[in-house]
Amino acid sequence: MESRIDVTVENREGERAEGDGKRHPNTCPRCHSHYRDDELEQTLRVCPQCGHHFPVRARERIAQLADRGTFAEEDAGLRSADPLSFFDLRAYTDRLAEAEVATGLGDALIAGAAAIERRPCELAVMDFAFMGGSMGSTVGEKFARACDRAASRQVPLVSVTASGGARMQEGILSLMQLPKTVCAVDELREARCALISIMTHPTTAGVLASFASLGDVIVSEPGALLAFTGPRVVQQTTREKLPDDFGLAESNSRFGHVDAIVPRAELRPFVGRLLAMFLQAQ
């Protein structure tokens, strides 16, 4: 039996450019243009040459989306425990410590209150750099609390996902983050607050199979991989020939799974318009 939760999803562009594993992160995998980091930051990390959307780290994403100075982080102190004393080639606790040092984040999701285009909302943003954006107990709990805060403030929740799936090192408890976040969305719905789900590259496995797919509106960035099972595992398991755009946002759009593909530069005003729509409900 093959894994359905493929946390090894890295970057489909990287996969295409074979043997290009050591490509510099600021070199465009599509047109091979190279940029200084401040250049890319200026362009919201979209390649000015070809439009390729580079990954965006969580804090930078918040800066891109939220009105300056409005983001107030919550639950920053939450950390993953190690309920299984998990040890593969290394200890889970070591992996966590290393990820925190490398990313400056406590786990793969940041959440808090914000305003986007002067509309209040709750914001929950994932960071793929923290253990592949995998969802363990901390990510689940932070997302669930973001739902609670949105409900109590009567504002929409905007989630930005980037995830390889569930966090294997927490075993069955990582799987339980699927129903946990689903329940949190249900409570958000009971409070009549909207979930605007922004799926960025990659949104896969457990995150796609839970809260990310339950958005009242589902938006994706161009070229993002949105798949329950990543292309590598599908290929290995089924030996099927995969379509060129397998699992990409564009394919998902064609099959009716996303409401809109919005280029990064238009994302902020687009979300602002949606917030205006949903805030009028109250």
């Binding site: 039996m1 359905r4 080639l89 294997m168 839970s210 797919s213 089924t238």
Partner: protein
């Protein structure tokens, strides 16, 4: 309590485990009565912490080719069963069966994964690996259960949702999410039992019940041992090592608060005696339903949500 030296040692071990459990912020099932005492009874019954070999034995028994499947139980525990077919949109997914059942003198709606016994049926059933169409069928009968106030029972036994191109194109992830949401929202009482492999998203899609049970030798896991080994050990051959590490066996799932109770299997495991396995399963399902049926539907839904909201261990 009259105590022999060995039972004293046992009790000490149990106390330690319970103490450890209490330390963990497992904020499970607030309002679910008899939590700790039931847990104690169950752990008691199971004896000591499972070893790596015990865990692997469970993996093997959970996947055993003679293990009873959903329809084997249905014919043994239901007085009548009318299978319902189709998702009303695209197909009837044979990897999942759904129907109206007479159980314990009343009508229930039952959904379960279905593997195949021989090679032909295995292929037909796609080894119990569900397409989005299967989850839509499940959702349809969930709504039927709610409309008619029929209790809802699911039996989980799947390696996972099917990882194929068409399944992806039809929205595998989204339907697993929506299926969970539909089940969470049910007004009627629900109970789930993992009767074999509880494989990741494909399993959890139909496992959001008021009470979640697991057979003694079933497994419930976020990934298959082979998949985990391939990713973390970069060697699928290390499956046994992986299983020991991520602990998919019933005892650990109970300790972690993921399941509410363990359904005993006959000596030698369920494959050895289908009739007795069915009798024991029926008994547990009956008891679990009896626990949640008296609740007010809104309160039941609230508790169900609280149960799953409390899943996880983290540090604050």
């Amino acid at each position: 309590m009259s105590e022999s030296p060995s039972s004293q040692a046992e009790e000490l071990k149990l106390r330690e485990r319970l103490a450890k459990l209490r330390d963990l912020p497992l904020l499970r099932g607030v309002g679910v009565s008899g939590e700790m005492s039931r847990l104690k009874r169950q752990l008691d019954r199971m004896g000591s912490e499972p070893s790596a070999d015990d865990v692997w034995h469970s993996v093997e028994l959970a996947r055993h080719q003679d293990r009873p499947y959903t329809l084997d139980y249905v014919e043994r525990i239901c007085e009548d069963f009318v299978e319902l077919h189709g998702d009303r949109a695209l197909a009837d997914d044979p990897a999942i069966v759904a129907g109206l059942a007479r159980f314990d003198g009343r009508t229930v709606v039952l959904v379960g994964h279905q593997k195949g016994r021989d090679i032909r049926e295995r292929t037909h059933r796609n080894f119990g690996m569900t397409y989005p169409e299967g989850y839509r069928k499940a959702m349809r009968v969930m709504e039927l259960a709610d409309r008619h106030r029929f209790p809802f029972v699911t039996l989980v036994d799947t390696p996972g949702a099917y990882p194929g191109v068409t399944a992806e194109q039809h929205g595998q992830g989204g339907w697993i999410a929506r299926c969970q949401l539909t089940m969470v929202r049910l007004a009627v009482p629900s109970v789930t039992c993992v009767i074999g492999e509880g494989g990741s998203g494909g399993a959890v899609a139909i496992a959001i019940a008021d009470r979640v049970l697991m057979q003694e030798n079933a497994i419930y896991s976020v990934i298959s041992p082979e998949g985990c080994a391939a990713i973390l050990w970069r060697d699928a051959g290390e499956a046994k090592k992986a299983a020991a590490a991520f602990k998919p066996d019933a005892a650990h799932c109970l300790e972690l608060g993921v399941v509410d109770g363990i359904v005993p299997e006959p000596a030698g495991g369920a494959p050895a005696d289908h009739d007795e396995a069915a009798r024991l399963l029926a008994e547990s399902l009956r008891a679990a339903l009896a626990e949640v049926e008296p609740l007010d539907p809104e309160e039941r839904r609230r508790q169900r949500r609280r149960r799953f909201r409390a899943m996880g261990v983290y540090l604050e």
